[in-house]
């Protein structure tokens, strides 16, 4: 925190209650995209706010559609399920893959190889 300029401190106190995620980190993630050259303050604020809404939306829909409602838990499989079943969350399927047992995977691998052998 020591490297924070006075300007940055100013900015955090203004946005204290509207957004809770650090804008500096969000800017870093945005800038890691190779095509992006610059981002104005409003765009950065909106992306940060949108990310918070997204986190809430993802958590709530996964919980509501998930299996852990009785036990009052939100688990990984609920999230993976949401990513697969909900259109708007489809872009997450790569980072939220459904977990399968190794023996099921080996079985499907074997089946695929057999199919290949058929040709």
């Amino acid at each position: 925190m020591s490297q924070n300029s006075a300007d940055k401190v100013d900015q955090t106190s203004t946005t204290k209650k509207t957004i809770s995620l650090p804008v500096s980190r969000v800017r870093l993630i945005m800038k890691s995209s190779p095509d992006v050259s610059s981002i104005n303050q409003d765009a950065l604020f909106l992306t940060t706010k949108a990310t918070e809404l997204f986190v809430q939306h993802l958590a709530l829909s996964s919980f509501n559609n998930g299996s852990g409602k009785e036990s009052n838990t939100l688990s990984y499989s609920d999230l993976a399920h949401t990513a697969e079943e909900t259109e708007t969350f489809h872009f997450l399927t790569d980072i939220l893959p459904k977990k399968i047992l190794a023996r099921d995977y080996l079985k499907s691998l074997e089946e695929m190889q057999e199919e290949d052998a058929d040709f």
Partner: protein, 152 residues
């Protein structure tokens, strides 16, 4: 710039708090689920940035602006975020304007009185001013949460 991969993660404590705020009281969120949501959030930022950047490029602009981000939300089919985002932006802009006025006032005050005793009372005034400005965004957040619950 991001030097380590961890630099692209969002802070766990904040993510956990946001999740807790969204879910009913007493829901347990597994560590794995929290990590997954955090990663999903980073991917969301990248996806939104890339969409927004496409809009900026189409318009031959180099700087991403608020309109690009809102257009990206629409393209990503997160229209449900549009209204809360627009409202939050209003509050944010007001806050920034207020901040400017405060610093303007501070500058004027400084010109008027230079002795240290007045310095103290000025600090107190500033604190009050800050508190007053923060009330608004808070009310905004509450309204949003209510909306969210009704929708679902």
């Amino acid at each position: 710039m991001a030097e380590r991969p961890e630099d692209l993660n969002l802070p766990n404590a904040v993510i956990t708090r946001i999740i807790k705020e969204a879910l009913p009281d007493g829901v347990n969120v597994s560590k794995e689920a929290r990590r997954a949501i955090s990663q999903a959030a980073s991917v969301f930022v990248l996806y939104a940035t890339s969409c927004a950047n496409n809009f900026a490029m189409k318009a031959k602009r180099k700087t991403l602006n608020a309109g690009d981000v809102l257009a990206a939300m629409e393209e990503m089919e997160f229209e449900r975020f549009m209204e809360p985002l627009k409202e939050a932006l209003e509050v944010y802009k007001k806050g920034q304007k207020g901040k400017k006025e405060v610093s303007e006032q501070k500058r004027k005050d400084k010109e008027k009185k230079a002795d240290s005793e007045n310095d103290k009372s000025r600090e107190e005034e500033e604190e009050e001013e800050e508190e007053r400005m923060e009330e608004e965004p808070e009310a905004e957040n509450e309204a949003e949460e209510e909306e969210e619950e009704v929708e679902n």
